[in-house]
Amino acid sequence: MAKENNSMQRHMGMRAANAISNTLIYILLIVISVIWLIPFVFILLQSLRVESTWQVGYVVPRQWGFDNYVRLLSTNFPKWYLNTLIMALVTAVLQTVIVLCMSYTLSRFRFKMRKPLMQFMLILGMFPGMLTMIILYRVLKDLGMTQANAVPGLILVYVASSGMGYYVSKGFFDTIPKSLDEAARVDGATRAQVLYKIILPLAKPIVIYTILTAFMGPWGDFVFARYISMGTAAGMNVAVGLNNWLNLDQIGNNYTMFCAGGVVVAIPVTILFMCLQRYYVEGVTGGAVKG
């Protein structure tokens, strides 16, 4: 009896300890979330401030309105936004195709230079991309793809090295049993059909991941975009364009508009993540082969 009581007490004690540690963890997580959200809320509130366009010492606007958003339309912002959107979409499509083909090839085919190629790309990837900036500018300038024509030039820059981003998806493809490929090929599928009828549906989370990263790269790029557009407003993306509004001579007039631009920039990315995140969750390979 006493023994039973003892174990009962111990059981209760463990439950209490669990509850306390859970509470502490949740408090910590909430604090972190709040800290993380403050800048976003801050920007949103600033963008809705109507009474002044410069930086002020308070957070909540005294007069609310969409004036800043309307004002955006009369600036270069729509042009920048369009530039960015085109670059991001085209890059997302091309880079996804290249990365997935590359990964499939490296995962499924065995050819002579496969290992050396992978090692070469690994080493190449250790150098920061910025190192290529000067020579890239020369090349693009000769091709007439700088300043006002920066959009195609930048797409070229973003897409060119995308084959090197194969690691994650190749790793995922490696986990899909090869016998599925073989079964499909015996069933009459070409290599391409194997890829898009068997491998890609099974690798959905990785395909989504690849699309997202391919989209996000150009969407948030600053360094290359600034360098290749060289101060010509027509060739800028949003990051470069908006950044100009923070120059000392412009910040007084454009600060709240800058915030509004920031919010508008965040919208498509937020939507994209919300739509695609559910694919992150589920693995789909169950039941393929014995196990």
Binding site: P177, S179, L180, E182, A183, A184, R185, V186, D187, G188, A189, T190, Q193, K197, I198, P201, L202, V284, T285, G286, G287, A288, V289, K290
Partner: protein, 374 residues
């Protein structure tokens, strides 16, 4: 429905490992051929070369008279069942089976008929809308077979299709494959490491070892007339007992002298020895466990042995015994032949006498391990 012909087929991997040496085989239309051998003997590799999943290093593979060396698997008109089923996990059973038909751009109503027909034969109709992960191992294997069935292909390849199933299910599926074969009436190549499957399924068996063909023959041939020691030991369970002994020729008669006993090689085997003009000398004598009987007492024909392990298998006992020089033998004794007293005497350490007749003996050359009379 087609013949398959392999001529001097070789497989050499990049690292210079030779997986298959000079494989020659003619498979007739509608024949069921089983490749059997221990793991790493090249049987799967050979099958995969027929399927087109593995490059053929040398030699030619012909299907229906056409050399297919350079054809992609999809152009060879073959169907294949894999050991691990290889079902497409994101598709329902119906879509899995219909996959190849859709690639052929068949009309959906034809596909529907074919799939439901195959499902009915295999007894998986009620699972057609399920995903593979919701099926048991046996059901998955049926789906895999169904997927191969609907293709009406020239050759049906099976790569260890039953190895992943438990023993009971394996026996059941084996019987179903025999039935399936009668229904499909096409050419089968079946790979297994299990000699029971090979014996029960094959019209002809190809026994392989280290990339070489050891023997090709009907189940009866390979069982009764093994060409070499490897085949003799590989086919049959428990495996054949091998005794190193002397074959003595005395006039017209042959005797073997294992462990002090003297047994005449009479009947057919004696005749064959005479015909082959075998001189006698040291041989490897092979006797199957079921051909050894317990002798009542010591005598000229009896070999004294000590019982080590007595395995009760139900209908029979497997007696593991060893002779005076430590050679281990297995004796299969039907339980029904023994009365209670005899059974009680079969305890570990018991001294027994065993014997066998001339007609059950196999003789192998100790050097080449070749059968002396076949």
């Amino acid at each position: 429905m087609a013949s398959v012909k392999l001529t001097n087929v070789k497989k050499i991997y990049d690292n210079k490992v030779v997986a298959v040496h000079d494989f020659n085989l003619d498979i007739k239309d509608k024949e069921f051929v089983v490749f059997v051998g221990p793991s790493g003997c090249g049987k799967s590799t050979t099958l995969r070369m027929v399927a087109g999943l593995e490059e053929i290093s040398e030699g030619t593979v012909e299907i229906d008279g056409e050399v297919v060396n350079d054809l992609q698997p999809k152009d060879r008109n073959i169907a294949m069942v894999f050991q691990n089923y290889a079902l497409y996990p994101h598709m329902t059973v119906y879509d899995n089976i219909a996959f190849s038909l859709r690639l052929q751009k068949m009309p959906e109503d034809v596909i529907y008929n074919k799939v439901t027909n195959a499902a009915e034969i295999l007894g998986i109709t009620e699972y057609l809308m399920r995903k593979p992960r919701a099926l048991s191992g046996g059901q998955r294997q049926r789906v895999a077979i169904g997927r191969a069935m609907v293709r009406d292909s020239k050759v049906f390849l099976m790569d260890e299709p039953l190895s992943n199933l438990d023993a009971k299910l394996r026996n059941q599926m084996r019987a179903e494959i025999i039935l399936l074969r009668q229904k499909l009436d096409t050419t089968f190549i079946y790979v297994t490491h299990d000699q029971t499957e090979a014996m029960t399924l094959g019209d002809r068996i190809v026994i392989m070892k280290d990339g070489y063909i050891m023997q090709v023959g009907t189940p009866t041939e390979v069982f009764e007339k093994p060409e070499n020691l490897f085949v003799a030991e590989f086919i049959g369970a428990p495996k054949m007992n091998i005794l190193r002994t002397n074959l003595m020729k005395a006039g017209d008669k042959y005797y073997v002298m294992p462990f002090g006993a003297k047994i005449e090689v009479d009947g057919e085997k004696g005749k064959l020895l005479r015909e082959k003009k075998i001189e006698g000398g040291e041989v490897l004598l092979g006797v199957r466990p079921e051909h050894i009987v317990l002798a009542k007492e010591a005598g000229e024909h009896a070999i004294p042995v000590t019982l080590e392990v007595n395995e009760m298998m139900g209908s029979e006992l497997h007696l593991h015994v060893f002779t005076e020089d430590g050679t281990r033998l297995i004796v299969r004794v039907p339980t029904i032949d023994l009365d209670n007293e005899q059974r009680e005497n079969l305890v570990n350490g018991a001294k027994l006498f065993i014997t066998f007749e001339g007609k059950v003996m196999h003789f192998f050359d100790p050097e080449t391990e070749k059968n002396l009379i076949y």
